[in-house]
């Protein structure tokens, strides 16, 4: 039971982080290969506070704020770059984050931060908190998708220049996507730090960014349910299957490539096209029955 609770907690954290990235990459079409940096910023920000006696309940929003502020800065710096260049820029941010953390003794340097205090909710209580927060993030995503802002994101993801021509303030929406998505990653980071109780530079490296992007792509760029599902499966699987754990980066990298190449809509896209095809058959079938 203990093991299942841990797994569930980690899966919930992955769902939150992946849905954060989904706002940026899925909704707004801005690729990020450095999402783990913001996840890490939230984790470090909050761990610094709680190890110095600040309450977990203050550290949680503080971590989100730190990550979101960093995201806003990166977003501002990336306003002029697009597509592949944005991918490289965000990847650079990820490496920069790790580099800075390693050099900072105040942040634990190579050793990381340990003995992060327990929030005192009990194993089960903490899991419930994580699951509730994951549900809230999912609900927020769904709400956003149907909102005016969601339509502006759609337009920007489809064609940024044209979005500008119809009068959408592209820069503002991109910044909003970055700030919200990274703040959500920050929340996931805080939860992670207080689950594992230890964080180090390697907890938030490039492999983590790739894994998150793979969750978003496999789940189906932009699809809230698909991404949440992929995040759960891709978190749980390495714990169940040793092979998956050993070749995680390779496997997720290959998966990312395969999805981009063969089913750009991800799982959600597969289900959708399968459903339309099934519908098509049904129409054909009734057509035959009726003379």
């Amino acid at each position: 039971m203990e093991y299942e609770i841990t797994l569930m907690t980690l899966a919930g954290i992955a769902v939150i982080a992946a849905l954060g990235l989904n706002l940026i990459t899925g909704f707004c079409g801005q690729i990020s290969l450095g999402h783990a940096a913001f996840y890490g910023a939230g984790a470090y920000g909050a761990a610094m506070l709680t190890t110095n006696g600040v309450s977990f309940w203050l550290a949680l929003p503080a971590g989100a704020l730190v990550a979101g502020a960093l995201g806003l800065v990166v977003g501002l710096a990336s306003l002029r770059v697009r597509h592949d260049f944005l991918a490289i820029t965000t990847m650079g941010v990820g490496f920069l984050f790790i580099g800075v953390v390693r050099q900072q003794d105040a942040l634990g340097g190579e050793m990381g931060i340990y003995a992060i205090p327990d929030p005192g909710l009990g194993r089960l209580g903490y899991m419930v908190l994580v699951v509730v927060l994951a549900g809230l993030v999912a609900a927020f995503s769904l709400y956003l998708k149907r909102s005016w802002m969601g339509f502006a994101f759609d337009a920007i993801a489809d064609d940024e220049d044209t979005a500008l021509m119809v009068g959408i303030d592209v820069a503002r929406y991109k910044l909003a996507a970055f700030a919200m998505g990274t703040a959500i990653a920050g929340v996931a980071g805080v939860l992670y730090a207080h689950e594992i109780k230890y964080i180090g530079p390697d907890s938030f490296g490039f492999p983590e960014s790739i894994a998150m992007l793979a969750m978003v792509a496999v789940g189906g760029i932009g699809s809230v349910g698909g991404v949440a599902f992929a995040a759960v499966v891709m978190t749980v699987l390495p714990h169940w299957l040793q092979v998956v754990a050993e070749y995680k980066l390779l496997l997720y990298g290959a998966l990312l490539f395969a999805v981009m190449r063969f089913s750009p809509g991800g799982l959600a896209g597969l289900v959708r096209s399968w459903r339309t095809r099934a519908g098509g058959f049904r129409i054909a079938a009734t057509g035959k029955v009726e003379p």
Partner: protein, 236 residues
């Protein structure tokens, strides 16, 4: 309603439009004609705020909007049907229209959409189809419809007729006529002077970024030099 004074615009060090002055009257159609590369698109993109103004002034209803951000121009009533239509190909017709009305209150959306569908009933039948899968004529209707969702007072249309059959062009021109009757000013870019004269009240001919002829449509029809030079074989 729109006035350009000595407008120069271009890209970096390159100037595509040189000292262009013109005025579009309220509820009228103004045609900007000229050969490929004459600077027609650059002119309307400068008015919309997408091409850098290097000199001169753009005024809307007597107010200087030369330095206004794009989004503010749209909410002031300038809408654009860009060259090549530029629809959101992956999004549905409905969503394309919705995004076009972005600068207007959301509660007006249904009413604005109804108005567009009334003008282009074909769009109403295809609301859930992806814009990229529409026929060329339908795409042009959607491009115009999307611009109309912003309830513009000045509609700028870059080459409606491009790649369309005469019947489809007629549909678009009929829509433009109706808009004019409803009080909208239209700035129309056309390569073909003959077509433009069908609906224009005023014409300006551009050559290498400079206005070489400007006047009313009647004058254009009567001016032999104009006909000779710009309407070629299509002599009336």
């Amino acid at each position: 309603m729109l006035r350009l004074t000595e407008l120069s615009a271009g890209y970096g060090a390159f100037t595509a439009v040189h000292g262009l002055s013109l005025a579009v009257a309220p509820a009228s159609v103004f045609a900007l004609v000229g050969a490929n590369g004459a600077g027609k698109s650059s002119t309307i993109m400068a008015i919309a705020g997408h091409v850098t103004v290097q000199g001169g002034q753009v005024e809307l209803d007597g107010q200087d909007i030369t330095a206004l951000p794009v989004a503010r121009r749209v909410s002031r009533g300038i809408a654009l049907v860009p060259e090549g239509r530029r629809l959101f190909g992956d999004l549905s017709v409905r969503d394309n229209l919705m995004i076009g009305g972005y600068a207007r209150p959301r509660r007006d959306e249904a009413e604005n959409r109804a108005r567009v569908i009334e003008m282009f009933p074909r769009l109403g039948e295809r609301l859930d189809q992806a814009a990229g899968t529409l026929s060329g004529g339908e795409q042009q209707m959607l491009a115009i419809g999307r611009a109309l969702m912003a309830r513009p007072r000045l509609l700028m249309v870059d080459e409606v007729s491009l790649g369309l059959m005469p019947a489809a062009i007629d549909v678009c021109y009929a829509a433009i006529r109706r808009l004019k009757e409803a009080g909208v000013s239209v700035l129309l870019v056309e390569q073909s002077t003959a077509r433009a004269l069908e609906i224009a009240d005023r014409v300006c001919v551009l050559e290498s970024g400079r206005a070489v002829w400007q006047g009313s449509a009647e004058e254009a029809r009567k001016d032999p030099a104009m006909i000779e030079a710009y309407m070629g074989l299509a002599k009336v």
